[in-house]
């Protein structure tokens, strides 16, 4: 009797749910990327939806008739709010639009210049969207980027995602996820930075490129960082590891490439003469990966000269970023305010109202310490023996 009642209870428990919220995977339209543009009265949303059947290895379909068919489908819709635009999309899509697999959110410059609160409110509120999505700003129409067919990857979002993921290899572009962006955006003591996507041409075909970074100030896009300034930002955000710096050889001025093996930056705050001052301590370890000068970097003096050269390049990079933040945008993207607030709570209360002015004029010391523990396997430059025998100095 007990068992019968147990089975009954279980059966009722299960059957009464009636598969609520169940949806088969092939009834979904997987959105891989979305682009936000400005429309006359609100937003224009462009979604790149994967055509699932194109992902099957054994599509036997009509022999070669539609061989060049794109594996994705780009649709767009307008709305006064983002959510309205999203729901308007349902009128076009036969399948339920599924937002959990979004890789990249691309936002048009004009839209980003206005209040971005509206945009990110939707993205942080909706449970179907994940926070591990990349954020990028573009100058042209964002929706167009989703229609650029990449040459290597199957579809645009995979292309953009992979480009963003390895942004720090070149050290000239910045990448950030929605989660971190929102963190910085909601932090009252600092301003956020996002990636920047531009469209260039390769072999007369439009191609996307990640370049520089976009700076936000008080909830709107303020401007762009150039490549050097972006590298300084990567140093300050401790994202530089694995990147490279090109250094002029201290002996003959020819370029030497250093791979950054370790890079760590600390920001310290002080109060000097009643105003906040900051000290940036950067510690780096590099490895020589390429040299076109003929110097043999296998003695301590040569290496320490190279270390100094690298230190001054890093110093210059960081300085340019600090300058851009203080002078060009007067936006605290470096987290100076956050650092000062946590180190000097009492003083912060007095100066916080005046912070934007104080930030602009704050004194910043930059200290760079570089170590080159190794110069890779090939210690000598690759030159024929006669020239190499005359080792300079």
């Amino acid at each position: 009797m007990r068992i019968i009642s147990l089975v009954l209870v279980l059966a009722i428990l299960i059957l009464l749910t009636g598969c609520w919220n169940s949806r088969e995977i092939n009834e979904l339209a997987f959105v891989l990327s979305i682009a936000l543009d400005k429309a006359e009265n609100g937003f224009k949303i462009t979604a790149q939806i994967a055509k699932a059947e194109m992902y099957s290895k054994t599509t036997t379909g009509g022999a070669g008739t539609s061989e060049k068919e794109k594996p994705f489908w780009v649709i767009s819709s307008n709305g006064k709010t983002i959510f309205e635009a999203v729901r308007n999309m349902a009128a076009i899509s036969p399948r339920r639009i599924f937002w959990s697999h979004i890789k990249v959110i691309i936002i048009n410059e004009e839209l980003a210049k206005n209040n971005i609160l509206e945009i990110f409110d939707f993205f942080s509120r909706n449970p179907e969207l994940r926070l591990r999505t990349w954020i990028a700003i573009t100058q042209g129409e964002a929706g167009k980027i989703l229609e650029i067919v990449p040459l290597m990857e199957k579809e645009p979002s995979q292309n953009i995602e992979k480009i963003i993921e390895k942004a720090n290899l070149s050290g000239k572009a910045y990448s950030i996820m929605l989660k971190n962006f929102l963190e910085e955006y909601l932090d009252p003591y600092m301003e956020p930075v996002a990636s920047r996507i531009v469209v260039t041409e390769v072999n007369s075909r439009p191609t996307i490129k990640l370049e520089g970074a976009s700076v936000f100030k008080s909830g709107g896009l303020a401007g762009w960082l150039n490549e050097d300034e972006t590298r300084g930002l990567l140093w300050l955000k401790n994202k530089i590891r694995g990147s490279i710096e090109v250094v002029d050889c201290p002996y003959d001025g020819l370029p030497v490439t250093m791979e950054i093996k370790k890079g760590r930056t600390d920001i310290k705050s002080y109060i000097r003469d009643g105003v906040p001052a900051f000290k940036i301590n950067a510690a780096a370890a590099g490895k020589l990966t390429e040299q076109s000068c003929t110097t043999e970097f296998n003695n301590p003096e040569a290496i320490s000269a190279l270390e100094n050269a690298l230190a001054s390049v890093i110093h210059k990079d960081i300085e340019s970023t600090v300058n851009a933040a203080q002078k060009k945008f007067s936006a605290d993207i470096l987290g100076f305010g956050r650092e000062f607030q946590s180190a000097h709570k009492k003083e912060w209360r007095q100066i916080s109202s005046n912070w934007s002015e104080l930030f602009k004029s704050a004194n910043v010391d930059i200290n760079v310490k570089v170590e080159i523990p190794e110069v890779s396997l090939l210690a000598k430059p690759l030159v024929p023996r006669e020239t190499a025998s005359k080792t300079p100095r």
Binding site: I14, N26, F30, A52, E53
Partner: protein, 543 residues
Amino acid sequence: MGDKSINNEFKILKRKKNSRAVNGADLPSDKNSALYKSVSGDMTSNIEAIKKVMGNPGDIQVREFAIICGIEISAAIIAIKGLSKHDLINGQILSSLMLDMRFKDAETVNEVFDRIKQNNLPDVYVNEEANIENIVSELISGNSVLLLDKAEKALVMGSQGWKERQVSQPITENVVRGPRDGFIENIDSNIALIRRRIKSFDLRVDSFKAGTQTKTDLYVVYLSGIAREEVVNEVKKRLGRIEIDSILESGYIEELIEDSPLSPFPMIEHSERPDKVSAAILEGRVAIMVDTTPFVLLVPTIFIQFMQSADDYYERYLIGSLTRSVRIAAYFISVILPALYIALTSYHQEMIPTPLALSIAASREGVPFPSIGEALIMEATFEILREAGLRLPQQTGQAVSIVGGIVIGQAAVQAGIVSQAMVIIVALTGISSFAIPAFNAAGSGRLLRFPLMLFAAFLGLPGILAGLSIITIHLCGLRSFGVSYLDPFISADKAVLDDTVIRKPWWSMLYLPGIIARKGKMRMRPGMKPTYRTKNRKNDGNK
């Protein structure tokens, strides 16, 4: 052949008056029935009585002859064809009785009887019987009976011998490395295989009988001093309450003495490997051997035992541990993989990595069933194929698997009835369930797979969690002969924990499992880890 001292014969025959009778226990109440007679002085009437009790069977052999000594005595030897050794009766018993003149000066029948018993029967088992009932039961167990005219008792001679299978490789439990012998259908050969391995004075072999019709022999085998007395007594007690007409396989006993008869999990382990049974006995378990079956029951049983194979202990411990963890993983796969697939593809698409989600979606493109329907179809097909392949003769069995694999797998996918992903899932599940050494434990996984799939289809991952919770709660409550089924994960007994997911090296398993054997029994002297090399180096240095 065997002499079976039936010292513990069950009192089935003396049934209670009020209880319902079991077949065969229902002896005639007529006091004048031939069964209750004792041997009378008249040999012919005795033979008739015996034949009458057995219903004058066709396979009974009666050889009447005369013994000539001081007096001439007519005698008869009765045996059952096929159950008794013909050459023993002919060549030794009959010839010694007919030709041997050692008792020729005997004057009375009783004297002749005693002389024959003392001097003339070259057999280990010779017994006097005066009761027709006992004589008949000796006859049907293969012994032969010598009746002398005018003697009021009979001589029973051990002459059991019948055709049986040779000791051969066990079919259900293959090992890569390890002994190749397996139990056969004869309990005495089987106990000999154990005794060959355990030459200990402490090995106890207690004999029982069960089955009113079959009168099957049972042995309860254990090591006294290692096995717990309460377990041994409990086994005997539970065997004692069995009242059934037949025991044809140890499965009958298993179902009659197990702790939780309604559980989907096997509560008693069985094996047809003498080495495995010996190892269990040495660990303090009690083995229940049943005549006419090669499968020996081992109690108490804990769940992790079903994941252990004899190889684990013969291969080096690293390989043993690897294969064992593979098996445990396979068990979990075989239980939850289809459910997980259903839950992920119909509720939690966000949890699948994008490329995988897309290719699953691609493979499900155009499939008319929801994933639960697809899964049930494929699982049912797989179970049918497995069952068909199992029962058919080997050559046909292969054909079935080819037809099943190619036709169902390939054609169903191409026809768009099931998705490729589901074929992969079902195949993986099926193969995983074959990786588990114990067929009965694998069966529990097969059984639980279906409710879990339904849970997943109705409730998604929370459903799977609920289902697994129900299973876990059930498992936690199970006990087998006083030992928690989930031990050692409940009692955390170190000696058993050393031998669960990983099998520690022999030199580190110092103690016998304390939850099964008596507490604190050492398996070996501590410090058995080989350290020869370092010692030698030290010695070299000293020189």
